[in-house]
């Protein structure tokens, strides 16, 4: 039986560069690998990996397995799985870490089941038990109302990690590492899906993930209109973006791309203004990393006030325009 050693990260590229989640995974993986005194490897699979390999080393990898194949231009499970399965089988890592992104959510369970091993998804923290070298995996459960700690009873241990839960290392281009160009044949006849069309539905203006200020509306907004008016006016004033909790997205009041929460986007702006949001754990899972949370809600018992630093109890129709107007005045003066 092969000896399982080291940590492998399944990396992701965005526009030819390492995705931020991958730098976060490298930061966390580096610490785990150091605790184990073992190597940190990173898989990068794309039609062209290029300079991203060096980037992975600068962010902490000891070895980068660069797999290039035309079939890897766009993520499709049946082609990526062939690469991930073969590499994991070849190098026998103790632990495989994957981002809890749309790709990771799709890839990780397939990989774990294919390998016959356990997976813990959406981890917030990971650590090594010194005696057993096992990975302790902590993740939120019950919509964020509790957290659970798991250990694997099979190997390799596979885990996905929530975006923005881990910190990347400072980029250090003098770090040394090895880039291993790796040829893996992909049997394209085994790809059972076909992408017919890719449609961007991005909201105009600042991207939610990059916005320093987010004005987020909930079920209590009552319909699509206030997102375009009251919330947008406040967001524009603060050079921020408008977001929404799950009910407005489910009801079609806003595009799904604006949905912040456990099953939407995870954001961590400087200022998060939650308006008419009850603060179900499902939602706060997506915004609890914000520096300052401000809540406006008519229900003084709303859970969001447990999360917020500042709050106003009142109907948003009355509170928000007054808040916006006063701010306008103050910012002008």
């Amino acid at each position: 039986m092969a000896e399982y050693k080291g940590i492998l990260i399944c990396g992701e590229l965005t526009d030819g560069k390492l995705a931020s989640i991958t730098t976060e995974l490298l930061g966390c993986g580096r610490k785990l690998a150091d605790d184990l005194k073992e190597d940190l490897s990173c898989l990068l699979a794309s039609d062209a990996v290029g300079a991203a390999s060096q980037e992975a080393i600068a962010f902490g990898a000891d070895k980068v397995y660069a797999v290039e194949h035309p079939a890897l231009k766009e993520y499709q499970a049946d082609s990526y799985m062939q690469v991930a399965e073969k590499l994991v089988t070849n190098i026998s890592p103790r632990t495989v870490l994957i981002g809890q992104t749309s790709i990771g959510r799709d890839l990780a369970p397939r990989l774990a089941f294919r390998l016959g091993t356990s997976l813990t998804t959406d981890c917030l923290s990971l650590s090594i038990v010194a005696e057993t070298k096992l990975l302790t995996q902590t993740r939120p459960v019950y919509g964020g109302n509790a957290q659970a700690v798991f250990t694997s009873e099979s190997i390799p241990q596979v885990a996905t990690v929530r975006t923005k839960a881990m910190s990347p290392l400072e980029r250090d281009d003098s770090r040394k590492g090895e880039v291993i160009p790796t040829k893996i044949d992909i049997d394209t006849s085994k790809v059972r899906t076909k992408i017919l069309e890719t449609v961007k539905e991005e909201a105009v203006g600042i991207k939610l993930e990059d916005a320093p200020v987010i004005v987020c509306g909930g079920r209590g907004m009552g319909g699509p209109e206030p997102f375009q008016t009251v919330l947008k006016e406040l967001a524009d004033l603060l050079h921020g973006a408008v977001g929404a909790s799950r009910p407005p997205a489910d009801n079609g009041w806003v595009a799904e791309a604006l949905h912040i929460g456990l099953t939407g986007k995870i954001v961590a702006p400087d200022i998060y203004i939650a308006i008419a949001i009850s603060g179900a754990s499902q939602h706060t899972a997506g915004c609890s990393g914000s520096k300052h949370i401000i809540a406006i809600n008519k229900d003084p018992e709303a859970n969001i006030f447990r999360e917020a630093e500042f709050g106003v109890v009142g109907k948003y129709e009355e509170v928000v325009p007054a808040f916006t107007n006063k701010l306008k005045e103050l910012l002008a003066g």
Partner: protein
């Protein structure tokens, strides 16, 4: 072409219950009796996805669930809204399982059902939120899967799926049989009609025990899991919210602006 469909559903404690009622006692989630069980929100979307196909193409929907202590009226909702059959893998021995043992048991049950074109699952259960079982079943059965689907159509032996990606969607075509993991956006589950409720009341679910699907006790529940729950806990949060007051909500809104400006937050 009528479409033969299986929908996997899970009975969970109502996830919309206020956060304060969720209490961990002795490593177990305990909820007061007034929190009623429901079919998980994403499984409701999965059911709706199947019903929409049945509306246009015709066919059959078999709802499949694994658990212990099912509340019949809750799980029978799958029949009341338009499902044709309900199969329950119901046994104490299923307790203490993980995503692995759950997907394995559901996969074995689907093998026993035999014929199907599409299997629908929700993207994640509303209690453990793991999001593994659907893809696990697809791996066990060796069929293709498309995740995060918000629209599904069937034509010429293929399914066309709108799959949510960051900032948009992709239209993905997949050969049948296939498994589809459904997310929100498909539309809320329709209400049961009175006729549907009455028909469901008369139908009895099929109950399958582990032996009926060819599983031994070492393969199910706690014995069949591959990851171990060491601890369940609730991080302590200290509420420290400063409530900004005012004579009227309008004044409070203005005072909030002043306070945030003073605090140099904005």
């Amino acid at each position: 072409m009528p479409v033969n469909m299986i929908v996997c559903c899970k009975q969970v404690p109502d996830p919309e219950a206020p956060p304060v009622v969720f209490k961990v006692v002795d490593n177990k989630m305990t909820l007061p009796p007034d929190v009623k069980p429901v079919i998980g929100q994403y499984e409701e979307f999965a059911l709706e996805a199947a019903l929409k196909i049945k509306d246009t193409m015709g066919g059959k929907i078999t709802a499949l669930s694994l658990g212990n202590n099912f509340v019949r009226d809750v799980i029978k909702k799958a029949l009341a809204v338009g499902g044709d059959e309900l199969i329950l893998l119901e046994d104490e021995a299923f307790d203490g399982g993980d995503s692995w043992s759950t997907a394995n048991a559901l996969g074995m049950a689907i093998k026993k059902i035999g014929e199907y074109d599409l299997i629908f699952c929700g993207r994640q259960s509303s209690d453990w939120d793991a999001g593994q079982v659907g893809l696990g079943i697809a791996e066990i059965l060796g069929i293709p899967a498309v995740t995060l689907a918000r629209k599904v159509e069937v034509t010429d032996g293929k399914a066309k799926v709108e799959q949510v990606i960051p900032d948009g969607y992709q239209v993905v075509e997949v050969t049948l049989p296939a498994l589809i993991v459904v997310t929100s956006g498909i539309g809320a589950l329709r209400y049961a009609t009175l006729k549907g409720i009455m028909a469901a009341a008369k139908k009895q679910p099929l109950i399958w025990k582990p032996a009926d699907i060819g599983l031994e006790s070492s393969q199910i529940g706690a014995a069949g899991r591959r990851s171990k729950l060491d601890k369940l806990f609730q991080p302590v949060k200290e509420a420290k919210c400063e409530i900004i007051e005012g004579e009227t909500p309008v004044e409070a809104g203005a005072n909030l602006a002043v306070r945030l400006r003073e605090g140099k937050l904005l």
